[in-house]
Symmetry: C2
């Protein structure tokens, strides 16, 4: 998506270790005008799918999910991150290993809000190696909910999480896919 | 605000220890239609104040902040919660003691996104004893930003954080104020 790629080139900063910071518009400060455009693009892709819920995970996925959900007029559910081992029986749980932070946590969703009559789009700001996304998929599988699509703002193509999820058979829509970054700040997008 | 009070009465659940769960529409599942109405109400209160930024803290404040910011067409900044002690010099930091979770953490905002030319509304889904809000106020003070108002969805009046912040001289707009809850589920709103 041209507008997002331009914004990444303009404001994104590349750090050693293939780290891309987009905290001026996506995950610390949020450009709400851009967010609306991103949400609409994901809506356009799946608008005929009779979507009932938008699923994401806290924290920075929430803004994108709300923007998508507004167009569908359906609820957002955001999975909570928990380190607690005593979560009760009324939740779906998936263990996620965070590559960015080198820690493990549980993604937790109440059984009250997701079930086998739901048609879901899973949304997040980023996909890198894809562990958080695989956790959200696992929660939908536990719930028996149908995953109609996966909407991502920025896919780090060189970390292969998006392609893993495509190979699992899911329809992944990434609004910008970065295939390579160089330490001089060059960013190469997938065609 | 009548629509919010009715939603709390309809879907809120009261648990022992003065715990109110509104996770069906505000802080786990999110009713995006209601969210839009709440955001607009906060906008209406401060629309003449030449607001430049909406400040909140992750995670559940983000949805409300985006809804408010959309009406102003200004960016959201969400403070990050960090336990790290090595944060560098390029951030504002305020130590917050969490009543709900019995833990301490730092609220962190990059100096890049908040400064002494900003006019800010601080937004959150809840205020209880008010420690998170006092931390966000402290960050604005460090930045020299002017706090034009504080917008809250649900104030737990019986925990006095909202009144503390009013006594500090800030203009607090809470869309629903709960003055008492009983274990039979009765909820008493402030007039």
């Amino acid at each position: 998506m041209k507008i997002l790629e331009e914004k990444i080139l303009e404001e994104g900063r590349v750090y050693p270790g293939n780290i891309l910071k987009v905290d001026s518009f996506l995950n610390h400060q949020i450009d709400v005008g851009l967010l609306d455009v991103l949400g609409e693009a994901i809506y356009e892709k799946y608008k005929d799918k009779k979507i009932t819920k938008i699923l994401t995970i806290e924290a920075s996925g929430i803004a994108v999910a709300c923007s998508v959900a507004k167009h569908f007029n359906v609820p957002v559910i955001f999975a909570k991150k928990s380190k607690s081992l005593n979560l009760g029986d009324d939740v779906y749980v998936s263990r996620i290993s965070s590559y960015t932070y080198g820690k493990e946590y549980d993604a937790v969703v109440s059984r009250d809000f997701l079930g086998n009559d739901d048609k879901v789009i899973i949304v997040d700001d980023f996909i890198a190696i894809g562990n958080a996304m695989k956790g959200l998929i696992e929660i939908c599988v536990q719930a028996g909910a149908k995953i109609e699509g996966i909407g991502i703002c920025i896919e780090k193509g060189y970390q292969h999480g998006g392609d893993d999820v495509r190979q699992m058979g899911y329809d992944v829509t990434s609004l910008a896919i970065i295939d390579d970054m160089k330490e001089d700040g060059t960013i190469i997008f997938r065609e």
